[in-house]
């Protein structure tokens, strides 16, 4: 049964997740200028990098005094999950030509989660595109609002923006800590970071933690649910329990 776009459940969920996700672009914009990037550099990240975790990682490393190389490395490593999402969307939608390039750019946690949360192929397609394009537009608009506001605020410490950055990273991590395994990985990487801070330049402790995390993923025994760590920042389907997002079958 085909429903019109107005009544489409995929489009409806996509739209609401676009508003919720787009809004927190304000915090990215404000924190980015507080970390020392210009309004234009901040906007370039939202337009071109367009992946919340990677963008926050980039400015988080810069804010801590890390080099741009370390910032780009952290952003690249956090983006690896998008390749896994791309494969899943490719299986679901088979985009061709320019649509494939557009689909790749809007392949993020939320567009994948919106799409795979639907069962009808048409709704999966609508969910992906409405969430992807909707978040892209709103995320960029609200990034600009945030960076202009942040620029006007002045001294970031006085407004507690360094505390806001801490809160943002914890909020990105939180939905991914659903099992004991995930908590153990987070704790191990947090400890590795603290141990590394005094001995290596700023930004590098994050890469040390990445090595620990990758080793655990590659070699470690894992009993948790599939798709651990691949949860979206904001869940499009908060009322349903989804344990197996990585297998679209």
């Amino acid at each position: 049964m085909t429903t019109s776009l107005r009544q489409s459940p995929g489009a409806r969920v996509g739209l609401s997740i676009a508003v919720a996700t787009g809004l927190y672009g304000v915090s990215f914009g404000a924190l980015s200028v507080a970390s020392g990037l210009t309004v234009w550099q901040t906007q370039a990240l939202s337009l071109l990098l367009f992946s919340g975790g990677s963008q926050f990682a980039f400015i988080g490393v810069i804010a801590g005094g890390g080099t741009p190389v370390a910032a780009a490395s952290a952003a690249a490593l956090l983006g690896i999950r998008n390749a896994v999402y791309g494969m899943q969307i490719n299986v679901l939608l088979h985009p061709r030509g320019w649509r494939r390039l557009a689909a790749a750019q809007v392949t993020i946690d939320e567009s994948l989660a919106t799409s795979t949360g639907q069962t009808d192929p048409l709704e999966q397609r609508r969910g992906f595109w409405v969430a992807g394009i909707g978040i892209f537009v709103l995320w960029n608009v609200f990034t600009l609002v945030g960076s202009l506001a942040g620029d006007a605020l002045g001294d970031p410490k006085r407004w507690g923006l360094d505390g806001a950055a801490v809160a943002a990273f914890l909020a990105l991590l939180w939905p991914r800590l659903r099992s004991r395994d995930a908590g153990a990985i987070a704790a191990a990487c947090a400890l590795a970071t603290i141990l590394a801070v005094p001995f290596v330049p700023p930004g590098v402790p994050i890469l040390v933690a990445a090595v620990v995390a990758a080793a655990v993923g590659w070699f470690g025994y894992r009993a948790g649910p599939d798709g651990e760590g691949l949860e979206p920042d904001i869940d499009p389907y908060p009322d349903t329990v989804q344990t197996d997002r990585t297998d679209p079958s």
Binding site: A83, G163, V166, F169, T193, G217, E228
Partner: protein, 103 residues
Amino acid sequence: MTLWFWIVVACVVGFLTKLLGYLVPKKWLANPRVARVAGTLTIGLLASLTVANTVATGQLLVLDARLGALVAAAVALWLKAPFLVVVIVGAAAAAGLRLLGLP
């Protein structure tokens, strides 16, 4: 200028990573190990960024108002506050503790 250069590098690498999923044979990335590493990397990097932004100042470990922001944010998340509220709570906690004289 260097910063601009690495911003562009991050953006290009980020896009190519996304595109990779559409181009490589399915069996490569369908390997459960690859998906697992992508997941553990995400958890590990976010945990590390949280901690580094809380206690690191250059190469020093420092306990200051940011720790209060971490605790306040955790409470807000535990109470299921939305993302933006959590961020505002973190900022308010850090700013408030500094008003009280904490570094």
